[in-house]
Amino acid sequence: MLDQPQVPVAQRTNPERSFREEVRALRLSDGEVFRGEGILAVTKAILQSGVAYVGGYQGAPVSHLVDVLVESQDLLDELGVHLETCTNEASAAALLGASINYPMRGCVTWKSIVGTNVAADALSNLASPGVVGGALIVVGEDYGEGASVIQERSHAYALKCSVWLMDPRPSLPTIVRCTEKAFELSEASNTPVMMELRIRACHVTGEFVARDNQPPAISRNHRLDAPAPHNYDRISHPPSTYAHEKLKVDVRLPAAQKFIVEQGLNELFPGERSDLGVIVQGGITNVLMRGLDRLEVEGKIPTLVLNVTHPLVPDQIADFCKGKRAVLIVEEGAPDYIEQAVHALLRKRDIDTKIHGKDVLPMAGEYTAEVITDGLLKFFAQSANDIDLSRPRERFEAARAGRSEAQRILGGPLPLRPPGFCVGCPERPVFSAIKLLEREVGKVHISSDIGCHSFGTLAPFNLGNSILGFGMSLAAAGAVAPVMQKRTISVMGDGGFWHNGLLSGVASSMFNRGDRVLVIMQNGYTSATGAQFIPNTSGNRRDGETTSDIATTLKAMGVKWLRTIRTYNVGTMLKTLREAMSTDQAGLKVIVADGECQLARQRRIRPQIAAQLKRGERVVRTRYGVDDDVCTGDHSCIRLSGCPSLVVKPSPDPLRSDPVAHVNNGCLGCGLCGEVADAAVLCPSFFKADIVQNPGWWDRLKWRLRSAVIGAMAGA
């Protein structure tokens, strides 16, 4: 990559990522069968509901909602739907402000809990006046296996803001119905509705019968001639806010509860054991059902599935519990909001049904099949010892014993496989350089951030002291830098810079005369979430022009010490870091580490190269290699790079036992391994190979001549 021309950040586009199939699914009409993943079903359902605007900030597992719509511009234009790719979740939540004054339906999406945290201010100010057009927030509940954020429940936000929370049973028809009903619920109670979808629910496959998309009545295609008349009641400012608070409990809550019951949003699965019952969050119904099936009691225990987990409907819960000996509440995560609420409402009505929940199930952690089974066994043992569970219990115990046996054979934990930087990633060299810097100056306090670069905190780099949120790394060094003898280094991505880092970090640091070092990884996308466009990419899907340049922005903010460096040159990066750490100049020192996201780059250039080769054009392919009889198997190179294509293989030397380094065929020729070997003075094993494909006559002649002479000179 060092020798290859670099595409300026303003020209980085990512045209190869395509959702053609998904876009087609969004056009299905009445009676046609939709097949696909959960999150795409939600996307179709909001179009069927007549949304006038959609927005969001990307993040697993809900990124696809906006991503697919970005590629459906034709469809959105036909319907008149406005799409806003927001720069953060606060901006997305504020978008819903349109529904405060106008009877327009809107939907926004983000990853929770983190996104909801960012959106919190706007969310409160939205929930207080309430809405006249249906407002839906689809949150990806990033919880349990595969989650990448702190483990907290979005439920708390629903409770404290009086926003309703749906948690649909993960079956596509239910998810679609809940999405459509969410808008109606929102309008019936003038309250925004949040719908949480866990990771597996977003990716679950299934089918449902589609309906026609509904063009909204007010839209880009049907504009209003005048704004809503001034109405102070719609503004979240005192004294309106005092009225809003009362409205929430006196008017909106009962309206919502009425709607939930009338529309049958929660589902009751009957069962012959009228003395027992289970109340479960819709989202984990499938785990529960399989658990009951495993205990051979499926269909026997009445089950109340809460597709709406806030508000609860006290009458519904009381009716369900009344006359039962015991009811189990299956509620994932802490605190146990639903269980507490059920306890309180039964107590108030003097219903003495015994409530189980977090006493037989764990307070914290994902409710997996094993956890649920274990909890059910305990519940039945305490509440219904007439059910013979000996056979299923034996099977369950045998499976657990089998696992212990397997772990004994394997003899200890298996090597972890954490995510890491891709082959050829432009961010890896920065961490290699920081490691080399630390060899010279000793350990440095590294303030890390959210994004691909947070993998720098993992092996083999193990660099980073804290992560405080997206775009927060500079702010998080605010009180560390003044007490350190050495300057601190904050690492931030360009995604994080635009999301929050510019104001929370840079502005605050400048204002407070902070003397810190900030490294901004400018790869041109929010890569960790699937390479979405950001203000410094050309690819805002409209006109292909860059909105804002980072270096220009920083200069305008008064940053004096500013360097833009191509990341792959480890030597230069090291020199620049050294200078930033040692210069006498006070104030914020920013290094813009520039290198295009390799995943995006490969998506763009691969088809281009394939076409060139097909046309018979000369193409030079570069890759690196290790001479396996020069390598002695110390693997310093791997510890300083961690490239997935830098692997080990058995030593070809019959006298050596340690495996040697090897560059596999995944190599993209970025040159980092060679650069690191050079900058860290490691060893002479690395070589670069330029393979000339479709060579011209001059290439061939030169090659033949050289080969003949070299062949004659070569040693044994």
């Binding site: 597996r200 099949a369 090597p415 890491g420 691909c452 960790a528 020069v630 693997h635 080990v648 019959p654």
Partner: protein
Amino acid sequence: MPRPITILVGALGGDGGGVLCDWIVAAAHAQGLGVQATQIPGVAQRTGATTYYLEVMPTPGPAPTALALNPAIGEVDVALATELLEAGRMIFNGFVSPDRTTLVASTHRVLAIGERAAMGDGSFDVGRLLRAVKERSKEQILFDMDQAAEESGGVLNAVLLGALAGSGKLPIPGPAFEAAIREGGKSVDANLAGFAFGRGHARGELAQAVREHRKRRAASNGVEDLIERARQSYPVSSLDVVEEGIRRLAAYQDRSYAALYLDRLDAIHGLGSADLLRDVGRHLAVRMSFEDVIRVAQAKTSRERLVRVRTEVRAKPTEPVEITEHFKPGIEEICAILPPGVARRILAWAERSGRLGKFHISMHVRTTTILGFARLRVVAGLRWWRPHSFRYVEEQAEIERWLASIRAAHPLNVDLARETAELARLIKGYGDTYKRGLGNYREIVAQVVAPALSGRLSPKVAADAVANARVAALADPEGQSLAKTLAAISASGVVVRQAAE
């Protein structure tokens, strides 16, 4: 209602696990079977472990209200893994069970970062993985799908799909899977080829060529008599190593240097332990063929290497290849080939002036040009000078000291002698790596071996201590483990103190 067939897939990011699931879902749909898939896809990056879970109804008709989204221990019918450690992970987590699970897995290993970053051999014990695979699953379909993909020109996920089809565990005929691949519309031919290969293999119709890993032996040039000499006197168990040592050193330096190797070994042979002879034979050959710039130039300009590089980078026969070498010799590397007197003076000056370890010449030599290659040949041609070089003299002295401690250790305890021999493993590499290794080696010799030889530490305890220290030295490059281990050894009080008087 019949129970669904449950399928768990363990893959690595970039293996195409998602596409594999799409194929299975599409094929099941086409057969009118109820099906549900979900995934924990990990992040957008192409590393890290990913898992997928599917349920397929065995017969056409409506599926139950709720198919599961989570696998349950002891309830997985088919476990698919694109790599052996990921198969091990599913077993470790209890999802593979001997009464139920058919395990379809590739046997190749993609080492995790912790395994790769180790300073020696850090890879997980494959024997344990294979034993768990055999003992903890009901049926196994195991082969190297990575190689199969390469042989068939397909992709690993297609081979895995083929193996699944060939297992006959799903009520879906082969053509339905092929139709799903065609419907997917991407790299159809390659994927169909991979599928056919995997399916044929699972049904036992195809054998896979065993990928050969060949150890490269040095050429024998006029040392047959030395080899004969070794054969006459040494036990058979050591001969493969010793013969390789002779060939290696003759190629590295010359015949008489190889003869010196045998002379040194004779003294070890005289101790009477065949195991020790083999150990020392191996390490001595490596130590005597230490890495200096002459050796690197030799290796980089050998005839065999030119061919090897072309194969490794997959250049077609008609494609020219340009090779650029990364060199960065410093003062020490240059001094290594100067006469000892001169070298010592330069090194002393460099140390005084703070230039040692700081001054390097960065060189990118293109060995596919005539001049570039010729430069390295000139350096390789300095072989005749090597015995007069500073590094040679230093190395020989160090080797003699090492051999002397082995000889001294043997009468005390044969394990101590073998462990002392094995310590040579620490000395490897170039530049800082070499210095660090040599430093660790000397530290262990000084703190454990020497006290044992002088009777201040029991030889049996010392043998264990040397082994522990060696492992610790390879645990982290900062030397923290070694420091801790050495501290623990001296603190354990086994050092027999001399009388104070």
